[in-house]
């Protein structure tokens, strides 16, 4: 098997490990930051600042991303959507995760990563198929190389490894970026995915959005490790930490991890320090487990404000550009709003269509049973009764 030979690391069998090699895999003492909350460039030797153009482009996505979160929340309040796990406050992570990838690459998002999925190009209405309750997933994963938004935590990280492994075996240059939350790092699948990726030396960037909560459970109950990025060395891959509200740093760090993977450098782990500004979903009551003060402390670190200040300060972001970006965000929001105000037609016959490539005889019988029931319900028993009547009032 083509297992990894990690440069700078001798085989463990010899029992000769040097601290130098260790430090190459350990994350930096401080999360990488390139633009501070006041919008000032804070240089870092290892990571050049992305170009103004890049930053401006990504900032535009940030504005739309925030707008998508706001619009989705509004639709939930209006009852047009059942539930929405918002990434409000984490949009820099969302945007960076999508824009560092090329077309041939794959993105593996979670339920919270709608903004990343849309930023990658997936039609937002197709994304909301899930959350409005129409079907489990609404977009074609192959169209933009975006996997379904994973619900069972950390399971998707292994799928990402498999996609990367298949691509590597075929000699393709595909890189896979796989996202998960801080809570998901506790699952066994997280461990197995990182280990498989390292042993098979496949091009996967594991991207943890550490937003300090797993529903109500704070990071301190999730781990007592120095950082989540410190887990990487246990798999023989480098770990890095980044300010998760700093779009510039995220683009630099994730971009470099993607390049490394593409160049045959193998997998790596990136932990972004960010914060879940809203409740887990609208169904959650965050006041039960954290104070308003906790949340407020993060307001000044907002990723949009910071990048805007920086870009404005350098005159990279003009007033007209801002107006344009706002208009673009408005357009997305209105497309979403309109799309969700019309009910999609859902055919119950589809329930049986995709379970197997070809329906089993059992499913043919069951589909037929449902078809008959619906036909009977549709045929009014007496002229006055139509539609979704119950059997009782039919007879």
């Amino acid at each position: 098997m083509s297992t990894a030979t990690n440069e700078g690391h001798e085989g463990v069998l010899d029992g000769v490990r040097t601290r130098t090699a260790d430090s190459a895999l350990l994350p930096s003492a401080q999360p990488v930051q390139l633009v501070d909350p006041e919008g000032r460039h804070t240089p870092d030797d290892r990571y050049p600042l992305p170009s103004g153009e890049e930053l401006l482009g990504a900032y535009g996505r940030l504005v739309s991303g925030r707008r998508i979160n706001d619009q989705a929340n509004a639709l939930v309040r209006q009852g047009r959507m059942a539930v929405y796990p918002s990434s409000h406050g984490q949009e820099a992570c969302q945007v960076a995760a999508a824009v560092v990838l090329g077309e041939e690459d794959w993105l593996f998002p979670t339920y919270r990563d709608t903004v990343a999925v849309v930023t990658r190009g997936v039609d937002p209405l197709e994304v909301f198929t899930l959350l409005r309750g129409d079907w489990h997933s609404g977009y074609d994963p192959y169209e933009h190389r975006v996997a379904t938004q994973a619900t069972p935590l950390a399971t998707q990280l292994l799928h990402a490894v498999g996609v990367a492994h298949a691509a590597k075996l075929r000699g393709e240059s595909t890189v896979v970026l796989a996202m998960c939350g801080d809570g998901a790092t506790s699952e066994g699948d997280f461990h197995e995915a990182l280990n498989f990726a390292a042993v098979f030396h496949v091009p996967v960037v594991f991207f943890i959005q550490n937003n300090e909560f797993a529903i109500s459970v704070p990071l301190t109950s999730q781990t007592v490790a120095p950082s989540l990025a410190h887990k990487a060395i246990g798999y023989g891959m480098p770990g890095e930490r980044v300010d998760g509200n700093d779009l510039a740093a995220l683009l630099a760090v994730l971009g470099s991890a993607v390049s490394r993977a593409r160049d045959g450098g193998g997998p790596s782990l990136v932990e972004a320090h960010t914060y879940r500004m809203q409740a887990h979903t609208n169904a959650d009551d965050a006041t039960r487990y954290r104070s308003a003060d906790d949340v407020e402390r993060w307001i000044p670190k907002d990723p949009l404000v910071r990048m805007r200040t920086y870009l404005k300060g350098l005159d990279l972001l003009t007033d007209e550009a801002e107006t344009e970006l706002a208009a673009a965000a408005d357009t997305i929001a209105s497309v979403i709003r309109k799309g969700l105000n019309t009910d999609a037609r859902i055919d119950p016959a589809e329930l049986f269509e995709y379970v197997y490539a070809e329906k089993t005889s059992q499913l043919r019988e069951q589909a037929e049973q449902l078809r008959e029931e619906l036909a009977r319900d549709a045929a009014p028993a007496d002229p006055g009764v139509t539609g979704n009547t119950t059997k009782e009032n039919q007879r």
Partner: protein, 358 residues
Amino acid sequence: MTQTTEAPVADGTGQPGATPTRTAPTTSTFAKALNAALADAMETDPAVLMFGEDVGPLGGVFRITDGLTARFGEERCFDTPLAEAGIMGMAVGMAMNGMRPVVEMQFDAFAYPAFEQVVSHVAKMPNRTKGRVRLPIVIRIPYAGGIGGVEHHCDSSEAYYAHTPGLTVLAPATVRDAYFMLREAIASPDPVVFLEPKKLYWSKEEVDLAELRRTFDDGEAPRRIGRAVVARAGTDATLISYGPSVPTALAAAAAAAEEGRSIEVIDLRSIVPFDDGTVTESVRRTGRAVVVAEAPGFASVASEIVARVQERCFHSLAAPVLRVTGFDIPFPSPKLEHFYLPSVDRILDAVDALQWEA
């Protein structure tokens, strides 16, 4: 044969000799009854611990553990790291070492990561050690559909557990049973998979929780593990059901009554052990049976019930034992679930198909 036809009020309430000054029954939800059962068990026995994901300060995503951390301290009711095998495996060790852990799997499908621990240890350790190690663990699982939940939040997973020897598998359908059965599960020396029908969490009954507690603590509550109950008496056919499907079965029986058919409804309550006595007695009497359950029908608990009933009541049967179950498909998305779930209509269709003319 086990006959358990206790009247709904027979749990020590309303008995002659009860103190006349007792406060009138109040209303409780299914969720509140579970919460009270946990609190009462924790108060009664310091070995009872509650842990899982978000069960601490939040009180669980369904609030079943609401207030327990505040009341009993964070050593008795606490959040764990997010790892279900971890929760289950730690529970095994705790039970080995004198505790009676109650764990919550946040949703049915999120219990699957713990499957190896459940099948290979929770279910087998007592047998492996010839009973030297008992594992009094309760695995609480908010389960099944009917709440418009998205994928992975609505699985009916009872068959996986019921097929695994060594596990007790319970599914209450009433507020009163929710209380008594959870208490009984926690008191059981065996590991119990305790299935809480999510859609019933907000259902209500007139019950006085304090009275239920007294009844249980005084040993006056009839045993429910292994005991089915006739939830509605009838003579023409028997509906056999449990958990989330019991209210649907009862509604179907009520509808059938309007058409002049007298349908008996059995609420199994206990899937393992199974109460052959109550079921067999009823079907032999009515001669017809329909099993109603939400899980996909193939190789399910419903299949087992059909198999047992026809084995034991063959010569009393006027028609085959039929099933109204979920289809053999993954649980559907919220807007489609009503096509999937057993409904009053579908049950009445099945009853109609019981060869009444034959």
